[in-house]
Symmetry: C2
Subunit: 334 residues, 2 copies
């Protein structure tokens, strides 16, 4: 009863997971998530469409949970990037949503920017937006594989490659909130593997699910499965990708003096068990003062990481202990 | 008079600049540096030799300034790395000082570690030790080219390559204080250019004064000067190095969402004017959401950066304003 004001303010939280293909909205209270609604991310209409869709989905989640959307105190947002910060707040300049950013895009819009924070703030006073890997990092530090780690990195190895970085307990954001775009770090600039961003030989071009085996006519899942079963050509492709991936982790360890990596994303979650020694070797073979004791873990929150990450951006400290005990997000699986 | 206690405690500061070839000790008071004494870094004796030499040089600096070493309140230390932190504090595990770390070293000692913090703390209660590029970063943020920059990087381009990193106003240290060892970041692992650390194709192997033109029989100064004068072969070598250097800066900008780089070190201080456009091009041509508006500046503190950096680690806030006005370190030039 002593926290009445606080409890009123924070009765409900909203969480948004904004991806290139899917947008999910979750509402939660102190007991955990109450409802989650998802839909394909808006791709047409005005630049405001994604923000307006996010609000609409949050309202639908509230309707499912029979609560008043006006009682949502804070909204945490995990979003694909990159971002630009201007006077309106965080704006998405995401090539796979904004058709006007790159020539020859097949997106049904000519957006050059998505004024996400401005649209959300018309409805919600308290909005915290972070890059999806930054939100995942915060989720893993709160409830997953990076608890108690002050010098740690979250990595997703999926269709793309992204990072969330933490050094000495500080989560890195950077000037526009884009810290962690090390998927676009150059590793082999003389390579002919090209990334969607235009770079040759960056981490994503050399390792991501979208790029691996490009031109071979096979998708990443087929290639990884064949490689696991020992097929020669596929195995060589994947071993090479794991080697480049390990070198990217080494580069981050040398740059940030990292202690622990937690890796998620569909590629790692399905194949991390046999990719891990290949990656680990690339770290351990270099600069012992920095790399000795560096650990690679598998991210613990799996498919919940985006929703939990978004919720963790606004989670009241007094809810934290109970969530630790009950791990209430598991209800979202149903 | 109201700060009597404070003033007593902080009457004098000590600063140490510990490099692979030279060790410098400075004492300062509120008016600025009072004396500086330097000597070749100790290379023989016990593992304690470097720490004991540092104390001795600080005492000599006090003698020159006619002050009692017992009145040194705090000591700031800018040191070459890498470091290991153990229960005794920061320990140097520096290949160019410790003869026992790498086989075939020609150093006249078999040290595997230098217990720097432990030895200094026997004499001084308050010691702050940082990697030399981290100290330089703090110096440039306090009095140099990075004032007011929260997302910035200090770089030295000299015989080696080192970085000091700052994101959202937090100076990055990492688990053992080694953040910024991005000179050992891989950029072209298939290259046959080898770094002293053993890596092939890391930033230092591809660009540093020690490595550039290796095997050509010329030293870096000769090569850079010939290149500047338009000599074909040397010019190609140096242009390539500047390109790799620019790619390293790009990698950091993509990783940390940096706004400003300040570059020092002998190579840049002599040749930065014509190397800068070559490096800048490698940044600007990539990932516009992250790289647009990124600036490359020349570090402002020049040859004072290590001493000022070390002093800034322990500088009382109430001295800062006066030092801004008087820039008292310039007296060290005499």
């Amino acid at each position: 009863m002593q926290h009445t004001d606080n409890m009123d303010t924070f009765t409900y939280l909203g969480a948004l997971d904004i991806g290139g293909t899917k947008l999910a909205a979750t509402v939660a209270d102190a007991s955990g998530p109450l409802a989650r609604v998802a839909a394909p991310t808006a791709r047409s209409g005005s630049e405001r469409a994604v923000g307006e869709q996010a609000i609409e989905l949050l309202e639908q989640a509230c309707a499912v949970a029979h609560i008043d959307p006006g009682r949502i105190g804070k909204v945490g947002v995990s979003s694909c990037g990159p971002f630009i910060k201007d006077e309106s707040g965080i704006v998405l300049v995401t090539p796979n949503l904004c058709g006007g950013l790159v020539g020859g895009s097949d997106l049904p819009n000519d957006w050059t920017r998505i004024p996400l924070e401005a649209v959300l703030r018309e409805r919600f006073a308290d909005v915290v937006i972070r890059n999806d890997c930054v939100a995942a990092l915060i989720g893993e530090r709160s409830f997953g594989a990076l608890q108690g780690e002050d010098d740690c990195v979250y990595v997703t190895w999926s269709t793309g490659i992204g990072f969330g970085l933490c050094v000495n307990g500080h989560v890195l954001l950077g000037k526009h909130g884009n810290a962690g775009h090390a998927g676009h770090m150059l590793l082999d600039p003389s390579s002919d593997a090209q990334c969607g961003c235009g770079n040759f030989g960056d981490v994503e071009a050399l390792t991501s699910g979208r790029n691996i085996g490009r031109g071979s006519g096979q998708n990443a899942a087929t290639i990884f499965t064949a490689a696991r079963q020992g097929e020669g050509a596929e195995r060589a492709l994947v071993q090479q990708a794991a080697q480049w991936f390990g070198r990217a982790l080494y580069n981050l360890a040398a740059t940030l003096d990292t202690r622990a990596f937690a890796i998620g994303g569909s590629v790692w979650l399905h194949h991390g068990d046999w990719l891990k020694p290949l990656a680990q070797k690339e770290i351990e073979s270099r600069l012992p003062a920095v790399t000795s004791g560096v650990t690679i873990k598998t991210a613990a929150l799996g498919s919940f990481v985006a929703d939990i990450g978004a919720l963790c951006l606004v989670l009241p400290p007094e809810w934290r202990h109970a969530w630790h005990q009950s791990r209430p997000w598991q209800a979202l699986a149903s």
